[in-house]
Symmetry: C2
Subunit: 416 residues, 2 copies
């Protein structure tokens, strides 16, 4: 089973919008075990859209067309599909009523051109999900099929997950259910992870199910994706759970989150579970750490406060007298933030202390608790932006490991 | 002159990487007046790359191929182009030497497979710019041409701007020079801008040069792009300068920056020019404002300090006793931040004060100077993330207008 993606819109060719829809669809198709060999972008031009659809049908069994389903004169995907099908458009009054009802529900009058969206190629059926005003279409072309979806990402996703994927699987005769799970890791390179997992990777290569893939996500670490195939969803989830347990045993603390969770959500959850509150002092990261933590819903219960310290005066203003550079300053800033906001933990970063340190990209991290403060030095590569982002994730990970250490072998709490 | 873009890489089809190269190239081609009707993504498969190149050459005069020029066995763009040209690959020893020298300069040993990058289709020439280890290629196919560039964005950009654009223009017989400039605006909708510029838009439509385009950039405002065509660069820049002056006269304070500059860089420059220092207190934006300002080089001279106040205790810790909700709190937080960090200006935001306010997306903004404090109320749409981002840009813009007001009609400084 092969399925191509054709994205419609002159604004895509002009670079005014980056086509993320095709990327998302490509990932979903791959996860479902459906081959996708070509993705095409074409402008709002009838002849070229028709040619692109015919070409795609000459190479693939199915085509997903994104965009060009709106109400304006530029939106000509419906007409192009009708030409490829060799049929004419017919207006569906009940779709028109649904569109009109959408506008009325928002207290707005429907411009008449919206009824163009109720024009459907003869023989095509409407996709049940309709989160916006443009209906999606399933358009049979002999034994092949064209799916038409709006270019609005959330509308497209709902239609793909609700209707198109199941229809593709049925056509492909796929009886398997495929599920995947992502373990997010930080602190180890791809080759390091491969070494750690060594034997298991070879076993999985031999078994063929589940499968394992490493996906780099920049300075936010490396994702380990497990994909399992089974007769039903329950069996696939069971395979995933078993594999996750085995991987976690091997990877240990390297795993910081699952699927769409991120480092800051993990930190907020860990602090919440332990009833701990944290305060920040940021000389290098200038508020980035605070911005990330405060973005997590519920973070106001664990984030006591944060301060950006661009210079020595700012450090003094919160009660740290040792400036903003070096290891001692990092510890002092962490202690000052902890004291100022009456928190359980103080977390800080300080800039390089000398030209030599600066050349090596040195950043000092500080962690203060009731029992004292300590610092750690990291060397971060890249320009200002990259160093700042790297410092944030490094420091959050340091805190995570420290919080996990609270239930460590010696039983002593690390962050009290 | 038509030029297509073909992006190579299975990782693009699998959605592991979003293809931003094609979007960037599409924009550059459009700015240069070169038509680009199709963009294709294809995987690392010899037959399908060859087919895509042949198809592109059947529809266009030139093709830019991105990716697949690296040293690994997956990198087969060179071989595919050679097949399309009907020639074989020949190794260029001097390119091999350059690649080896790159590795040596970094103190690393060159893996032998890197020499594959010195294999060039017979008759192709090397692009002069070589920022990485993979050379770019200009490959004539009869009267047509294929340009091959690496998939690494900055390498591709350097080669396009240094060699490919000029070669395309020469082939197209374009004698005009095209230059563009972007005026970034905030505070007015696209239709509002169109109304403000009304007469001028009609004039430019009639004249045809320069041209005007509105580009939305989300909550960061709307860009007004002016594109001018002239016999040489100097004349084009003169046209731009004249049009910019006219637009600024009509748009006034709506324009906050030019080209790649952003709101925070404008604020840092305004503060620096006036010798003013600012302090922040963020209840809604949780460090985002500080993160943006502190990202600007030189900001440590104007940013006195910033504090995130997630709750009432944090507000008290910096000396503001009125909590973090409502108009009075916003003013008090601004004053407390100003006092705490001994700054000239205090800038703050406070959360909604009641359930009713919250339902309307109310955020309170506060501004404090030596002469007192004032607050402003805004209603921001969307979810938590969107409200936070909207609050940042709204508050920065409020400050910008206030700073500009310093040289206002009545001559009284607004921020002292």
């Amino acid at each position: 089973m092969r399925c191509e993606v054709v994205a419609i819109g002159t604004e895509l060719l002009l670079g005014q919008i980056v086509d993320t829809n095709s990327s998302w669809l490509g990932e979903q198709l791959a996860l479902a075990g459906i081959d996708s060999h070509f993705q095409t972008k074409v402008g709002d031009n009838h002849g070229r859209i028709v040619a692109s659809l015919r070409l795609a049908l000459s190479r693939s069994d199915a085509v997903i067309v994104c965009g060009g389903l709106g109400p304006t004169q530029d939106d000509i995907t419906r007409e192009a599909i009708a030409e490829v099908m060799g049929v004419s458009l017919v207006r569906h009054p009940e779709i028109g009523d649904r569109i009109r009802a959408r506008f009325e529900a928002r207290g707005r009058r429907m411009p008449e051109n919206n009824l163009r969206q109720a024009d459907v190629p003869t023989g095509a059926s409407i996709i049940a999900e309709m989160p916006g005003t443009a209906p999606g279409l399933v358009c049979p072309v002999g034994a092949q099929v064209i799916y038409a979806v709006p270019g609005v990402p959330y509308e497209l996703k709902e239609m793909f997950e609700g209707t198109i994927l199941a229809d593709l699987r049925r056509r492909a005769g796929l009886r398997w259910v495929i599920r995947s799970r992502v373990l997010r890791t930080w602190g180890e390179s791809e080759s390091g992870l491969a070494e750690t997992l060594g034997g298991r990777i070879e076993e999985l290569d031999r078994l063929g199910n589940p499968t394992l893939a490493f996906l780099a996500s920049g300075i936010e670490g490396i994702k380990v994706r497990v994909t399992a195939k089974a007769a039903d969803a329950e069996a696939a989830e069971a395979l995933l759970a078993e594999e996750e347990a085995g991987l976690r045993e091997r990877l240990g603390d390297l795993v910081f989150a699952v699927d769409d969770d991120n480092m800051e959500a993990t930190i907020v959850a860990l602090l919440g579970a332990r009833g701990l509150r944290i305060a920040l002092a940021e000389a290098v990261t200038g508020g980035l750490m605070s911005a990330r933590l405060s973005a997590v819903p519920g973070s106001e219960r664990v984030l006591a406060g944060a301060v950006t310290v661009p210079n020595e005066d700012a450090a003094e203003a919160i009660g740290a007298s040792g400036g903003i550079g070096g290891a001692t300053a990092a510890s002092a800033l962490a202690q000052a933030a902890r004291a100022r906001f009456a928190a359980d933990i103080g977390l800080a970063n300080a800039v390089a202390q000398s030209a030599d340190e600066e050349a090596r990209g040195t950043t000092h991290l500080g962690l203060a608790t009731a029992t004292g403060a300590r610092s750690e030095m990291v060397h971060l590569p890249g320009d200002r932006t990259r160093v700042r982002q790297y410092a944030v994730i490094s420091l959050l990970n340091l805190l995570r490991l420290d919080l996990l250490g609270e239930t460590g072998a010696d039983g002593r709490p690390a962050c009290r």
